[in-house]
Amino acid sequence: MLSWAGSVAVFLGIMALWWIASHAGWISKVFLPTPEATWLSLRDGLDEGELLAYSWATLTRMFEGWLLASLIGIALGALIGISSTARAYLQPTLEFMRPLPASALLPLAISIFGLSPNMVLSVVAFGSMWPVLLATVHGFAAVEPRLQEVARCLQLSRSAFVWKVGLPNALPDILAGMRLSLTVSLIVSVVGEMIASQPGLGQSILLAARSFRASELFAGIVLLGLIGFASSALLAAVEKRFLKWQKP
């Protein structure tokens, strides 16, 4: 309870800094609006229902992209983590694709697949898959050697090893990776909305930035922050439930 109060206090401190920075004119109001102006834009946008619809669109895109990314990331990660054959075939290609920016891939994807929401979704999944994938591969590689020996002695099948030793052992890493993926998925969703012209907070932020409406831009950022916070808090609760054994 007390730490919650502290958490809010820290946040309010940062807000105060923002207030001072914008009012004292450290940064031009054109780019850093005052908190009040942001609040007004936020209220207007929500009143008109437009921002709410945009937030919802971005939120669903983020979650769908993240779920897809997590599924693919864990599956591929587990495959690479346990099978050296799969590693030999797949890993170099994946490592080559990892540094390709979604912002540069989107134009290609648009040309090939058109401006469909599903295309954006696949790019979101592609962009946010890496943290989960890397964490899963590492989690599998870092199984305590003694436990690997236990598994060998019990002659656990490959799949049993994955489910009973590999995955639980990788779980802390996977959950940390999924937490990152969630954020990346939000960011790539926003970028996708900007580049592939899909309705959502990304597009509204882009248009606000283009027309130099800083307060609207910040209203969008505030909503992104809230979405990020809410989803992360949700995931943290899940994490606590799954990692009970770490700190019983």
Binding site: S3, G6, S7, A9, V10, F11, I27, S28, F31, L32, T85, A88, Y89, L90, P92, T93, E95, F96, R98, P99, L100, P101, A102, S103, A104, L105, P107, L108, I110, S111, I112, W130, P131, L134, A135, A142, P172, D173, A176, R179, L180, T183, L186, I187, V190, V191, M194, I205, A209, G220, I221, L224, G225, L226, I227, G228, F229, S232, A233, A236
Partner: protein
């Protein structure tokens, strides 16, 4: 003999199929496209970019910006990740602020950074630093939370100072996970650097790609995209061998 050739070929199957498919697509369906070109055209464009030297200066700029941003992010991210990992209370205090700021997309900061720094290295590396700070911090925090509790008790019993505890117990203990975080950080840094160049900063590989696109040379654009992948791949291979080298030094799988 033949078997060893097959083994050596294994990593090349997927790229070969993907490239072949793309070549076919670009030559048939996408023949009249202004945004697509077959990989063979990209190879030609790539060769000319090597010969005129533009490849290296653009690559150097992007890598420099990404490296500086990553360095800053690594120092700050690892330090705060350790603090947050060790102190539950600090973690709870900072949770709200962190989770609110973390999802701010770096692209949304480009106008702000541009206003403060203008074009050039500083605006790019500050955005790179912002973007790669978060994954480094989160992964470091997760890594610290998984350090063998007995080792932390050892450090308490020996009366190690906080600095000693950080450098002698925690950092070495999280090295394997830190490498994972760094590899992720490297690709985030590279992705963000290129994105900033695509969107605003007239320097580096992203900018070169943008020029190629606007001057209607999709082959060159693809060549740049491919080159970005190659650069990222090389960095990753280097990071992996460094990881193995450090691992050997630290008695892992000795």
């Amino acid at each position: 003999m033949i078997e060893s050739i097959f083994r050596w070929l294994r990593p090349w199957w997927f790229p070969a199929i993907a490239l072949g498919g793309f070549e076919w697509y670009a030559r048939t369906v996408g023949k009249s496209s202004d945004a697509l070109a077959p990989p063979t055209a990209a190879i030609n464009a790539f060769l000319s970019a090597i010969t005129d030297g533009s490849l290296f200066s653009a690559t150097a700029f992007t890598l420099g910006a990404a490296a500086m941003g990553l360095l800053l992010a690594a120092v700050l991210g690892i330090a705060s990740g350790i603090v947050l990992g060790l102190s539950k209370r600090t973690a709870r205090m900072a949770f709200f602020s962190i989770e609110v700021f973390r999802p701010v997309p770096s692209v949304a900061l480009i106008p702000l950074a541009m206003l403060i720094f203008g074009f050039g290295l500083r605006m790019e590396f500050s955005i790179v630093a912002f973007a790669s700070f978060w994954p480094l911090m989160i992964l470091t925090q997760a890594a610290v939370q998984q350090v063998e509790p007995r080792l932390l008790e050892v450090s308490h019993v020996l009366g190690l100072s906080p600095a000693q505890r950080a450098f002698k117990i925690i950092l070495p203990a999280i090295v394997p996970r830190l490498f994972v975080a760094m590899r992720l950080g490297v690709s985030v840094a590279l992705v963000v650097a290129v994105t900033v160049e695509v969107a605003a900063n007239p320097n580096g590989m992203g900018y070169a790609m943008m020029i190629a696109q606007q001057s209607m040379d999709p082959g060159l654009m693809l060549a740049w995209l491919f080159w970005i992948g190659v650069v990222g791949y090389i960095i990753n291979v280097a990071a992996l061998s460094l990881e193995r080298w450090v691992g050997r030094r630290m008695g892992v799988a000795a």
